[in-house]
């Protein structure tokens, strides 16, 4: 439709290449700006120094004060995935039960609307006096991501096509068959979206908990690097958390497309 007037728009035909170009340019910009003094280099080290710091960080042995990178990464992934698993399982079960009983749905609607917007960090001061650091972090992770999952599952269960439901009733499908052929295909896309959103929220809350509460993990190491005024290491760890997020998002999206390849919303994407 638009005239290919510039180099950019001609290159636009291979978006992957352009995206890579964008990332390289972004890295280059962060290399140049501190070096020419636009950004203060003691607080904003050039990207090459961040990469060097990352390399050192990967090879550093752990000390009692600062755990090794691998240990911290493992702690973060453990907290994240444990919290996510609890939230997803809980959200799915509660969502299906509440969603399929209209009376329960009506009774709980106001409570869900009331509890959901409570910011999870509001719980931190209370949790840290009651529980250990790791448990407190886990609780805020579960609390925040549970709602994402629950709401999606509720939408999904509520979205069952009335005609299909009546058909199922006419054919006298039993409970199990109705779950398999009616509820499952309708709610699955919603549930997968819920898992993707929950995963992103859970990761953010894991790092938040580690940073603020001080439970072991990458967040704690970021805080330690900040306290030691070791800016390159701090940025290196922040980059790692960003990469984990990107990988998680890419993986969940790919899984979504694979699991839902029969679904119209995915099938419609292919012919372009």
């Amino acid at each position: 439709m638009t005239q290919p007037s510039s180099v950019l728009s001609r290159a636009g035909r291979s978006p992957a290449l352009l995206g890579l170009l964008g990332l390289v340019a972004f890295g280059g910009l962060l290399e140049v700006l501190p070096r020419i003094g636009v950004l203060p280099s003691e607080y904003f080290p050039p990207s090459s120094r961040i990469l060097v710091a990352l390399w050192h960080e990967l090879g550093r042995a752990g000390t009692p004060a600062i755990p090794a990178f691998g240990t911290a990464l493992g702690d973060t992934l453990t907290t994240w995935l444990t919290g996510l698993a609890i939230a997803v399982a809980g959200g799915a079960v509660v969502g299906v039960v509440i969603g399929s009983v209209p009376l329960l749905r009506e009774l709980t609607a106001s409570s869900i609307e009331f509890l959901r917007p409570i910011p999870s960090v509001a719980l931190i001061p209370g949790l840290v006096v009651l529980y250990t650091d790791v448990v407190s972090t886990l609780v805020i992770v579960v609390y925040a991501s549970f709602w994402q999952m629950l709401i999606q599952v509720l939408y999904g269960v509520g979205d069952v096509d009335p005609v299909a439901r009546d058909t199922a009733r006419s054919y006298r499908l039993g409970v199990l068959h109705r779950i398999r052929y009616l509820l499952w295909p309708t709610a699955l896309p919603y549930a997968l979206t819920g898992i993707r959103l929950s995963a992103a929220v859970a990761l953010i809350l894991t790092i938040t908990g580690e940073l603020i509460i001080g439970s072991p993990g990458l967040g704690e190491n970021i805080n330690l690097a900040y306290t030691a005024l070791d800016a390159p290491t701090m940025y290196a760890l922040i980059v790692v958390t960003g990469l984990i997020g990107v990988v998680a998002n890419t993986l969940t999206r790919a899984a979504e497309r694979r699991i839902l390849r029969w679904h119209p919303s995915v099938r419609g994407e292919i012919p372009v």
Binding site: L23, I118, G126, Y226, M234, G242
Partner: protein, 276 residues
Amino acid sequence: MNVLRRILFIVALPATAFVILWFFSADIRDELLPRQKRFFLPSLPKILEVFPDTWLLQRHTPAGDLPSRLTHDVVPSLIRLGEGYGLALLIGVALGVAIGSSRPLRALLEPVLEFLRAIPPVALVPVLFLLAGIGDTTKILVIISGCIWPILLNTVEGVRGVDPTLADTCRSYRVGGLLRLRTFILRSASPQIVTGARQALSIGIILMVISELKASSEGLGHTIQEFTEGFQYPQMWAGVLLLGLIGIVLSLLFRLVERRVLVWYHGQRVAERASS
């Protein structure tokens, strides 16, 4: 009768929970927690008893009267939230429209934006303190740095997904410039923009609190932390309660605005459902 029924359904569960907690929260706590930890979790009547004195009323101290924490701490926090959130909305939508309308630009920037979005905003708090020093500007920057990504990326999605027929119609009728932006682009993208804005709001509240935890002398987050460090647990829990209430009120306000902005969209959805 129907209205009565609906009201009953809305209040039934919260009211029951409140009554149970009012009378039995101490017993439930004693059942669940070991003796040495009971001190940390006051009963609900106790928390509510200190609530007005702690947060709403003027404070009388030997050194003289202090303004209530509502005006001294809560309102400044909310103003910072409003400023940060408003700026994020403005910048996010403007950049989103620019990036979303150009295909090559979108391809160029999408991976970078996805990466920046994936960085937990809290991890940037130390960075911003290093960069901008201690003060209101940093706190607002913290809020912007977290709120902007969902708004920006959702606006890009929304602008990308505009109806091609409508785009051609605009071109045929030579609708351009600001009129096109206002009546076509922003309107078409508004459902997505609103979704992004809703996600950004909950992130904003979290960051409002977090930005005050370090190097701060006032604010809601700072005060709650002060209570924790001073072992004033009823006051601290009253603060947690207040924070929860703020979250709820803001999300209700958001829903009101959303209903106004998207009235055409919800109407369209209802009509589509009825016809299919």
